[in-house]
Point group: C2
Chain length 450, copies 2
């Protein structure tokens, strides 16, 4: 037979089993955390009518999209999960209960130039809460709690959720008479971390055409730092001059006041007046999340409040708030930085059962008993030497091997070998299950406690 | 803004939230059951190099495939999970531990003519065990146990796993001197259930050109029925005449002898000499699974033993055994037949927390407490009348509403309302969590006990 050399396309992540197991556990943590906040799972097609997917049209998106004909149909692969959500909500509007809370963890496709850490197929893990006409600010206040739970679930502690409110920014620029220039200013201010305050000022003066006084006012404003209480206190100094600013400040207070009740520690949260995000789309609270020891990675979880989810598809005001995690890129980066939680299981099984007798019947029954106790158990049936069996257990990195020979069967026990410490104990099936579970320290086998 | 009418492409399943929740729970049951047998999760790209995907080439597949250019690349969407597995194992051969056990639950794409119950995008839920050179028969014996656990997990009892062995068939036809015609004969015999023995005989005589005696021998053979012991006893009558037959019989015995140890009841299992499956591919044990009350649906879980997984990609003997469930079609059929397990949760949350005070702080803390007890909890923040809040709870079909007003806060309790019975109890947060969990009858919130 002629052999075709196998390969995987560049820009497409394909993991070896140990890494894939960790990736799956992270996906499971996301599903579990999102579900724990009452978000419904959603799954939309990866292929949509290209005309519908590109309703918003425009530039980069259209160039990157995978678009093709099949028969008479003009088709395209989704490039994010927001456009399919908008389509879904518009299409099923009359059948949904609002607020509609959904999560979706799915692959999206962008034919970008392949480069290290950039993927053409990647998972997004999104949540959105959609209101019909109105949506209470409490939903915006809840989002940091969900982000916090997710990243703690991933085993991370050194991260910070940055929050701002677009109404505060828009109101402030209106006070300075700079509404027309607010887009340019926000884009400039966004570079503060990278280029420093002096260069920001030069751009504001020279490129944006601001006066010395206006530029100074802006630099003073975005320099506001401190605890939530300190930042809000500083912002109170600007209150009473612009209605939109006051509304934004009131929303920011509502988002920060209940952080303790939501279980979010102050050190994982910061009001950050420099962030703005998608200039056309977001209208209120905006979120970014950074890893404190790796600022170069940028935001790993972003989103915000918007007023018009589905205007291209339906004549209804559908405000919402949502966040998105680029899971494939996050996994790649955490792996590269050695930040993958070592507690994430990498083996395909918690125990490998090795029958040491001619008939495997007792070993089969033992494996079934361990499974009904909630363990992931592989039964090893190959006719190999003992040394080769242990080499296989080591290669899989299973934490336990369970040996069952004539002696064990006669004694009503099995031999449980800890593959890390080498410790070997003779235990009944029940005690073996309890012993292994205790060492895994979790009730749900593939799920970490969050 | 001009409005584009939203639609979802025909042949693409898109579910409303209550149905999607049930679908997700079935996917979770599959993941959990497959993982409990030590299968590693695998996730390959949906897009592959078309040349590689079509290495085997040929007919129907090539017509149905979604194939397109992007830049200079000739790309295609996967049409099953077996070809990507073959590619994966060949590509990563030196890095894998064999036997390599993987499960994959992913969407595949076939541009078939859309018709009721046929999908162009659908989930397959596959497991395979791949050996390097050899693979013990115990792996084939384990497969019915996994099928049994999956379908019981789905809440079904009236199903039967049909097992046969291709070596028995090939050996038997060799005994009759019909090796050359065995393909035609198997295709004819496969129609037995649909057209009856008389018509099968006519085709065997007229189209296949068999003698009266040969046709009678075949009809007598495929009429063998009964318990596993009875069928095997009848097959023993043919033993000793053909080496391949004897090997197949020995394998069939190995697959059936340990069913009790694997926990598979006799009534859910049957040796069925009429099934053969994919004529070119399978070489040993073959499996089909039918719903006893809906034979018209055909097999809902099929697979078998093969000798050469990846011959197109690598010069290695890679035998394996695997099964596939067409999850999207199965879900569609179960839903249509009213066979979806009513215990599958359809609500996005186990409890809806309704703050009845000005500040939501206490309600937020209560919701967090219920979540840390493992419940899925939605906090409802909209400023609506009580009646509207309850209407929302009813529309979501959440099993419990949890009310928290001044009275409850002062008493240190919350009011837990069972939305089905109307029963309302004042309970502490801890007791409320226990009460709700007890009614859900499961430790893992979105997962049924299997």
């Amino acid at each position: 037979m002629e052999i075709i050399k196998p390969r995987t396309l560049s820009g497409f992540m394909e993991l070896l089993p140990d890494k894939q197991q960790r990736f799956e556990t992270m996906a499971e943590i996301l599903r579990r955390t999102y579900a724990s906040y009452g978000f419904a799972p959603l799954d939309t097609p990866a292929i949509e009518d290209a005309q519908i997917l590109l309703a918003k049209g425009g530039g980069e998106t259209e160039k990157q999209i995978y678009r093709f004909q099949k028969g008479d149909s003009d088709l395209a692969l989704r490039f994010d999960l927001t456009v399919p959500l908008a389509k879904y909500v518009a299409l099923h509007y009359s059948e949904l209960a609002f607020p509609f809370r959904r999560f979706q963890i799915s692959k999206v496709y962008r034919g970008e130039r392949a480069q290290r850490g950039r993927f053409r197929e990647f998972y997004q893990a999104d949540i959105d809460i959609i209101g019909d006409g109105k949506l209470d600010i409490l939903n915006e206040a809840e989002i940091p709690a969900i982000i916090y739970k997710v990243f703690r679930g991933f085993g991370l502690t050194r991260f910070q959720i940055h929050v701002n409110n677009r109404k505060i920014l828009n109101g402030f620029y209106a006070m300075l008479g700079l509404t027309e220039k607010s887009g340019d200013i926000m884009r400039t201010v966004d570079k503060l971390d990278k280029i420093g305050a002096d260069k920001v000022k030069i751009i504001l003066l020279e490129d944006c055409g601001l006066s010395e006084e206006q530029a100074e006012d802006i630099l003073k404003f975005i320099a506001i730092r401190g605890t939530n209480a300190q930042v809000i206190s500083a912002l109170e100094g600007y209150a009473g001059k612009n209605e939109m600013f006051d509304q934004g400040l009131s929303e920011l207070k509502a988002v920060t006041v209940n952080l303790a009740a939501f279980g979010v520690p102050e050190e994982n949260f910061a009001v950050d007046l420099t962030i703005a995000r998608g200039l056309d789309y977001y209208t209120g609270t905006v979120y970014e999340t950074t890893l404190l020891d790796h600022p170069e990675i940028g935001s790993v979880c972003s989103g915000g409040r918007y007023d018009n989810l589905a205007g291209y598809y339906i004549d209804k005001a559908l405000p919402g708030v949502g966040i998105s995690i680029g899971l494939t890129r996050l996994f790649y980066v955490l792996d590269e930085q050695g930040l993958l939680n070592p507690a994430l299981p990498s083996a395909p099984a918690d125990a490998l059962v090795l029958p040491m007798t001619e008939s495997p019947a007792e070993a089969i029954a033992l494996a079934e008993k361990l499974r009904s106790a909630g363990l992931r158990v592989q039964l090893y049936g190959e006719q190999k030497k003992f040394k080769q069996k242990m080499a296989y257990a080591n290669k899989l990195a299973v934490p336990f091997a369970v040996l069952l020979g004539e002696d064990e069967i006669n004694e009503g026990v099995c031999s449980v070998k800890n593959m890390v410490t080498g410790e070997q104990l003779k235990l009944t099936a029940e005690d073996a299950a309890a012993h292994i579970k205790a060492s895994l320290n979790t009730d749900c086998p593939v799920i970490l406690e969050t």
